[in-house]
Each structure stands twice: as C-alpha cells, then as structure tokens.
Point group: C2
Chain length 420, copies 2
C-alpha cells in the first residue's frame, strides 16, 4: 500500500484547497482550476477565456508584464496559464522552499491583473497565430473537431476559440469574463510536494482573503448525438478520430470503461496497436483512451495513415471494435480475455505507482478528482477498484455501452465509408 | 549541495555501466546507448538504423513479437527503441523491484533478436508511414532539414531515414547493420533509480557475458559551412529555424554557450520571447536552445508565424541577435546584463534540481555525459560551472563565436530575405 497524506480545506469564500504531501521530493506543483473556461465564452465570442488566460499575466499587482515574467524566471518557476473548457488553469512547479514566494504572485495575477490596453493587440495576435497554426496541423485540427462533434455543448466549444470569433472580442469582453467568472466559488487549488498543509492553508487564506464573487454557475449540457464528419484537406495523409459514448468519471462503471479503452488501445500489446500497426503496418501510431468531462465520458481512438490505406485502416479498426463486443471466445480473439485484462491492470497500476511520486501529476490528479467527485480518491481505492474489474463486468459494460454509433471525424483528401 | 551516488563499471568486452542511485524513488529508468545510429547507415540506405530499431523488438530469445510486447506490458514496463544519429537507443522505465525481470528481456533483444521475414513488410510500412507524416508536418520537416544543413556529416543524416532510400533497404541490410554495429565497445548503459549498484553490475555482466564485437568506429565529421535554404510549401504559415555554430559539450566554454542560449530564448523573460511574442504578437512560440553532438555545438532558434509577418519576425530576431553581440550597455538592451544572466542562472539551476529526482532524466543525463565526456558530472560541478559564468566571460564568448553566418532554413510559401 502507498502511504498517502491528502488534506483538504474549504475557505469561507468557497475556494477549495486540496493538498498531497510528498515528503520525498524537493519540488512542489500547484494548479488553480478557476471556473472561467471556454464553456463560459459569450455567444459569438468563442476565445474570450483563451484571451483572458493570455492577458491575465500581462502585469498584475506591483509588476508590469515584463517584471512579472522576470520574477517567475528568477524564482525558477515554470509558470503557465491556459483556458480549458470548464476551467481556466493557472499552474506552476518550483522548489518547495520557493512556494511562499510564488503564492503572492499568483494572488496578484488572480486578484489584481492590469489588463493593459497597449498589450491587447499583441495578445490577440499571438492567440490568432496559435489558431492559424491549428488550422494547418491536421492532427490538432482533428482533436478540435472531434471535441466539437463528439462532446455535449458547451464542452464541445474549442477552448482555444475560433478565428471567426476572435476579431470581435474586445478587452472589455475579457475584463467582463474576468469579473464574472474568476471567483472563489468553484475554484479548486491542488498542491502536491514537500509542503506543510497548515502553512499553505494559512498563507492562501491570507492572500486570497478579499476574494469574493457569485456562486458557481450550473451548466446545462446538450448533445445532439453522434455524427460522421469529413473535412477535406489536400494531403497524402488521412487522419481518423472515433469517439464512443462511455460512462462519466463519477460512475461506478468508470473502471470498466477504463480497462476497455486500455485493452483496445493502450500499450504496445493492445488490440489496435497489434492489428493496425504491428501486423499490417497501416500506421505509425494508433491508440485509444478514456476522456472524461463533467457528466460525460468518451472512448476516443486516433490514428493517421496514407490516404490510399485509410479505408482499410478504418475497416481493421472496426473489426477490432466488433470482436471486443462479441460473446467471449478468447481462442478466436472475441471478447476480452482474462489474460489481456490482467495485463491491462498490471500496466495501469505500474503507471499509477510511478506517477504517485511526481508532484505535477499528483497536483493535477487531486484537483481533477475534486472537480469531478468532490473528494480525492487514494491510490489504494483506485487499485482496489481496478482489481475488482472482471472479464464479466467488462462484458456487462460493453453490452450496455456497445461499440456502436460513434462520432467519426476524418481529415484528408477523400471521405471514408464508415462501417455500420 | 545535492548528495549524489554515481558509480561506473567497464566490463571486459568494453560495455560501460553508469548508475545513479536515487534512494527516494520507487522507479528505475534505464537507457542503452548502442553505437548503431543512423550515422552508420550505409550510403544510399539511410533509414537502416531506424528499421533496425523497429525490427529488433519483433521477437527475441524465447518470445515472438507479440509475446515480447505482452511481457513488457505485464511487467508494467514503458519500453521503447529508437534510432538517433550516433546511437540506437533502447530505454525503459519501471518499478525498481521489476528491474531484474526486465534486464533478461533487454539481453534477449540485444543478443538474440529474430528479425522475422514475415514482419519485415509491416515494419517497413510503419516506418514509411512515419516518414510520410514528417513530410506533411512543416515543423517536423523543418527540424529534419535544419539538421541536414546545419550539422556536420554524418550527424546531418536524418535518423529516421528517407522515403527515397527506404524501398532499397533489405532485411539483410538490417541484419548486417545489427552484426556490425550492435556491440559492446562504445555501448553505454545508464541506470537511475532505487537500485543497488553491485546487483545490477553483476546481473548485466552475466546476461551480456557472451557479447562481443569489433572496437568502436571513429567517425570523421565533415561540414561545408552554413547555408540558407528555403523549402516551398503551400501554406499560410512560415516556419523559421536558425542555427549558429557553438562550442561542443566538452569545451570549457560550454556553460557560456548555454547561458547565451538561455538569455536569448529560454524562459518567458528571454529576449526573443519578450520581443517577438509578448511585445509584437508575431508568433505563438519562439525559443532558443543549445544542441550538442560529438565534437560540435549549435545554438538553434525556432519559430513559426503567418507568412505575411515572417519577414518582420526574422528581422526582429536578427535585431536581437545583434543587440546581444554589441558592447555591453544594459540600459540600451545591448549585450548581456548582469540581471538577465543572474535570472538565467536561477532558472537553469532550479530546473536542474527538479530533474535531479527524476529517474528518466537522470538515466539520460549520466549516459549522455559518459558519451560526450567519458565521465559523469555531478550536479555540484555543473552548478559551480554555471555560477562561474560572468557577463565578461559571456561577452568574450560572443566575440569568439559571434551571431554571424548562421544556417537558416525556412518552410513556407515565399523565401525570406536573410539579413547580413
């Protein structure tokens, strides 16, 4: 069993602090999940959260933009902000003995950003640059488009924004997004490293004491169901993404879904890797993973191949989806065998133990758990839940959530025939 | 000071083992650097080393390809091989208590690969897939082309190979590459984690006892000097790479070169990040780093921007190169100021301390040190050398290695005017 020290605190203003003490590292990692992601972008202004995440570090408190970057670099802090769909993230990693110097800077960024007029054009232009780069990168584009079609609204909105909406967004929109959404209720701070819980709890309490705002907003998600979408792209390659509905993070069957994704496309002995890449050389990379948001889950599969072998690749993938869903007959490769289930369990459990030591991975994991579950799972709880998955529970899961009616997005010269 | 336990052993057959014990992690990471990289690809057969790195894991010892992947996944091992220019790499990470189960599999792969005829077509096809993907990814293509033009031969050869040569390579070529180059002389094994030196030394000694081969080959490098190359690409983006000659890894001025690269384009307060991205919004990402191979060094700078702002971007970068090389006048931003040097030192030293705990980073670092220097530097030695860099030593360095006559590679719709 892994010894874990996880402690939490809810401040009066609603802010939640989740801390895991890792006594054997000199590092500390910290993530602020602020409920100001792109899901809250105003209609016709998709990209507001992303612009906010750029502008919010261009000067804060006593520092202008340049002085702030200077301070972070001087403290040896790897600091960044970015817009996700649910949250705007503010995260950093540094040495534990610097934590108390970095937190006041975070408080400045969160409570006292300058939003300087003179930097807005440059901020907008650098966001535009990143959006144009996505347009020209088929794999990035595929990821954005799969989200758009496979996820419920508003989680489907591109967290980066769009080139169409960007020109319309004003600095006042950014300030308004800040005022409405950057607030303690719904904000989670995950910290992991060699730290004393009481010390960080008290320091954050003092630094963010004046922070207030409206209660957390409820999001009503809406999904129109799966779609098949082809995006024409003059190229010799076709990129393929497939997403199947799965249970959400908080569902007791979450672990079944996780193992299904792992058997299908995790590791170098997975079904897809073996059949699509190793046996047939149809692609260089193919994998499946379980993607979870608030209230939804998806098993997503990605691959890319030459256009003239794309149809064959899709067909081979489909055959594997089918075989996994058939009544178990391990000799014929039908259903999930005890052997491959044991292998998948061994794989994810080892990875978990190795991540258990990494401050960055732990800060993310505990903040994410709190965001989805309102509590933090221990490694021991996860291990027991993984161990409890059986070939039977997996087949039960697949019967309830069959590999059928996925969202399929392809980018390439020609559309493909999606098997039914 | 960081306490470090680094131990080395040279076996009779020439193999060198370098071990760093990290008592506070449960993980272990291991890298085999075998002198069988693409630098040794036969003429007209560029890609042989890459194909070898694919074929060498398709069955070895008592296991066929599938059983081998199965074993690695069961042991929770993240295992991979790849071809670099000097070396073929075989690396893995796992939990320390599994190390003794993984090493025999590595010995199988190194000493007893099957090279099955029936898998060769698929292996070749999956390499072809990865090469075609590079052709369509401007940033990857830029990296390959910068190496080709900025580095001395044979380090300039694409370690992935080329689509032109690939069809010519036979399984016999791969076997021959294996026979000639996969040998103990010149092979370095770097291991870091919670391990006992004596135990791994004895285990490896036994497992690789029968391994023999010719002495290490000397490489004679040849470089024709800098070039300006434009690769036309129908796109709205232009990607830019610039490489300046720098001292090699083993040179006493290595640390000056490192700090120059860091001041120029490391971190969010670097010259390039501030001027090109933050002030002008010309790009989303711009950075400089020091790249070192055997006997050479380069300071390389990458950025990407919209085609219509590419010339301006290049000009702004050039102005920064010039300002760094001018007689110091910090108020005017000329030369390197004490302040930015202190900041760069703080940044790299913090990063170093954080990497000091990571098994994977340490296994790489100690193997790399041995490969370049024939010894391993302690963190303390590196820190002292970084501290010894002064504004004076940097200016001395820049006078000797001015920002002049770089290799410039651009990919985009139009060539640029390179300032002289």
């Amino acid at each position: 069993m892994i010894e874990q020290r996880i402690q939490t605190h809810r401040y009066e203003n609603g802010l939640v602090l989740v801390v895991e003490t890792l006594p054997e590292t000199r590092a500390v990692a910290c993530e602020f999940l602020i409920p100001a992601g792109s899901a809250f972008d105003p209609p016709g202004r998709n990209g507001t959260a992303n612009l906010l995440s750029d502008m919010i570090v261009r000067g804060a408190g006593a520092y202008d933009a340049r002085q702030l970057a200077d301070r972070f670099d001087f403290l040896g802090v790897q600091f960044g902000t970015h817009a996700g769909t649910a949250h705007m993230w503010l995260s950093f990693a540094t040495l534990s003995d610097r934590l108390m110097d970095v937190l006041p800077l975070c408080a400045d960024v969160i409570l006292r950003p300058h939003f300087p007029e003179k930097d807005f054009a440059a901020g907008k232009e650098s966001v535009a640059q990143s959006l144009r780069a996505i347009e020209e990168d088929p794999l990035e584009k595929l990821t954005v488009e799969l989200r758009r079609h496979a996820l419920p609204e508003p989680w489907s909105k591109p967290s980066e924004g769009t080139l169409e909406d960007l020109p319309r967004i004003t600095l006042d929109d950014v300030r308004e997004h800040y005022r409405r959404h950057v607030r303690p209720a719904g904000t989670i701070v995950g910290v992991a490293g060699r730290i004393e819980f009481e010390r960080i709890r008290d320091a954050l309490g003092e630094l963010l004491a004046g922070w207030s705002g409206p209660p957390e907003e409820r999001i009503r998600a809406r999904w129109d169901g799966p779609r098949v979408v082809h995006l024409p792209h003059a190229s010799h390659q076709t990129h393929i993404a497939v997403a199947f509905e799965a249970v959400p993070y908080a569902d007791p069957q979450h672990y079944d879904a996780w193992m299904v994704a792992s058997v299908l496309g995790g590791g170098s002995s997975s079904r897809l890797f073996t059949e699509v890449r190793e046996r047939r050389g149809l692609c260089y990379s193919v994998y499946a993973s379980l993607v979870c948001g608030k209230g939804f889950g998806r098993i997503v599969v990605y691959t890319g191949t030459t256009a003239d072998r794309a149809q064959e690749t899709l067909d081979v993938m489909w055959a594997e989806f089918r075989r996994l869903g058939e009544p178990p007959d391990p000799a014929a490769g039908r259903g999930v065998s005890e052997h491959e289930l044991r292998r998948s369990k061994a794989r994810v459990k080892s990875a978990m133990i190795m991540q258990q030591e990494l401050a960055g991975a732990r800060a993310s994991a505990i903040a994410r758990d709190w965001s989805h579950l309102g509590r933090v799972r221990t490694a021991d709880e996860i291990r027991r839940a993984v161990d409890a998955v059986s070939a039977e529970s997996i087949h039960h899961y697949i019967r309830q959530h069959p590999f059928a009616n996925p969202t399929v997005v392809t980018i390439g010269p020609e559309p493909l025939e999606v098997p039914r």
